[in-house]
């Protein structure tokens, strides 16, 4: 297959986005405004909301929770993954917990966490970190499994002490996996934060969403959805992709 240049890729993606907006617009012409706001109404709502102080405080509250949740969950998953990669039995001990966390519906965790932490940021960040950690964890362990045995043998020949082996072999080998798992985790993390906020927070995007729903301000509801998507995009393209690119710069 011919390699597509990054500019071409970007143009094609823009075309995809325009197509999506167009279909949305067509749908909004046929569906009542109480159910589906048009792209134009949504855009106007974003602009109007952005002029209010409440918008920015909700946005900031959620943004902090998202970043804290991803950072904590990512760090926990990565650290546990490294330990499980180095010490075989830890992996088997953690396996049931991983399975539990990846199977349990987020709503259930929110309800339980509200009992434990009450409403607010601690609860939201806890849930996000808890549910994201297994994603990063399994990718770290998978990265470990793919570490080249021949390279480990080389390290043995040159008598690398454990710290050098971890720093120069294991961590770089799993870093690429971890970076791409963080990109997946970001999308899921935003969903979890919003869900938790809808149920148990008095500020944040989720809270604002539940207000717009009860007051039937449909364009505002869609405006918040657009904001959520923008946050995922911002974290992914402005932070994680550049980090991933830097980590993987050794590839041809």
């Amino acid at each position: 297959m011919k390699k597509t240049s990054s500019t071409t890729k970007l143009l094609i993606s823009c075309a995809g986005m325009l197509l999506m907006l167009f279909l949305w617009h067509i749908a909004s012409l046929r569906i009542h405004a109480i159910v589906l706001a048009s792209p134009a109404d949504t855009f106007r709502a974003v602009v109007r909301l952005a002029g209010t102080g409440r918008f920015w405080s909700h946005l900031w509250a959620s943004f902090q929770r998202i970043v804290a949740g991803i950072a904590l969950g990512g760090f926990a998953g990565f650290a546990l993954g490294i330990v499980a990669g180095l010490v075989g039995w830890v992996r088997y001990v953690l396996e049931p917990l991983r399975w539990l966390l990846m199977s349990i519906p987020a709503v259930v965790v929110v309800v339980i966490a509200m009992l434990w932490f009450g409403m607010g940021s601690a609860m939201v960040v806890f849930i996000t970190a808890l549910l994201l950690s297994p994603i990063v964890y399994i990718n770290t362990v998978r990265g470990f499994e793919m570490v080249d045995r021949d390279i480990i043998e080389m390290a043995r020949i040159y008598r690398f002490p454990r710290d050098l082996t971890i720093r120069h072999i294991y961590v770089p080998a799993v870093a690429g996996h971890v970076a791409s798992s963080l990109i997946v985790a970001t999308g899921i993390g935003v969903r979890i934060v919003i869900l938790a906020e809808v149920m148990g927070a008095s500020e944040g995007i989720g809270h604002a969403l539940s207000l717009t729903r009860s007051t039937l301000e449909i364009p505002d509801l869609y405006a918040w959805v657009a904001v959520c998507i923008a946050i995922v995009g911002l974290i992914e393209y402005a932070v994680l992709k550049p980090i991933e690119h830097r980590i993987m710069r050794w590839r041809a």
Binding site: D150, I151, E153, M154, R156, I157, Y158, R159, F160, P161, L164, H168, I169, P172, A173, R249, W250, R251, A252
Partner: protein, 234 residues
Amino acid sequence: MTPILTFTDVSVSFGNLDVVRGISFAVNPEDVVGIFGRSGAGKTTIIRMAAGLQEPTSGTVERTYRRVGYVFQEPRVLPWKTTLDNVVIPLLALGVGRADAVDRARAWLFDMGLEGFEDYYPSRLSGGMVQRVSLARAFAVEPDVLFLDEPFGALDLRIKDTMFDLLRKSLEARPVTVLYVSHVPEDVARIATRILVIDTDGGLRETPVMEHRDMAEMLRKTFGEGKGQGRGAV
């Protein structure tokens, strides 16, 4: 002279398959020992036992060397580290300070003709260049013994000549005990001061070293090994 490596009646078998059958030999300091054998004759197993990567099924391998350089068939460099770091890190592992390690690594990379490529990642170098990084790494640790397992087998003939010249020059500059294995008669004969041959019955015998063209001719006659790369001629 006390040998730095002694094999005594060493055998290796995997299940019913005898890979190595009762071999004995000793390597003295500054010997350059070439082991010739057909593909599948157990060459890699022998060199891995010499390096302590594998233990014999029976018999003993005595190793009294302290430090090893090893050039594998494939370069085994760290793909996420630059050329320089690939040579520096094993030195750090030995406890050499960062500044000294960098100086030493640069000097060996220079000798291997890799000056100017210090900051390149291996993915941007040719196969021959990466194997030279591996060679620089092996020499830079100042080993007592250097193990070479068909190190230039994957390279084309012209590059192989250059590599052997580099190896010869490096050995002249810093004499070191070498144990290397190959299934290509010419390659074994090139730098060896002692030659061991794995016989068709799996035993090991030492043959006198001759001028390398004659040597290669003799080995090929004895074993019917094909010309040059010798692949598929078993």
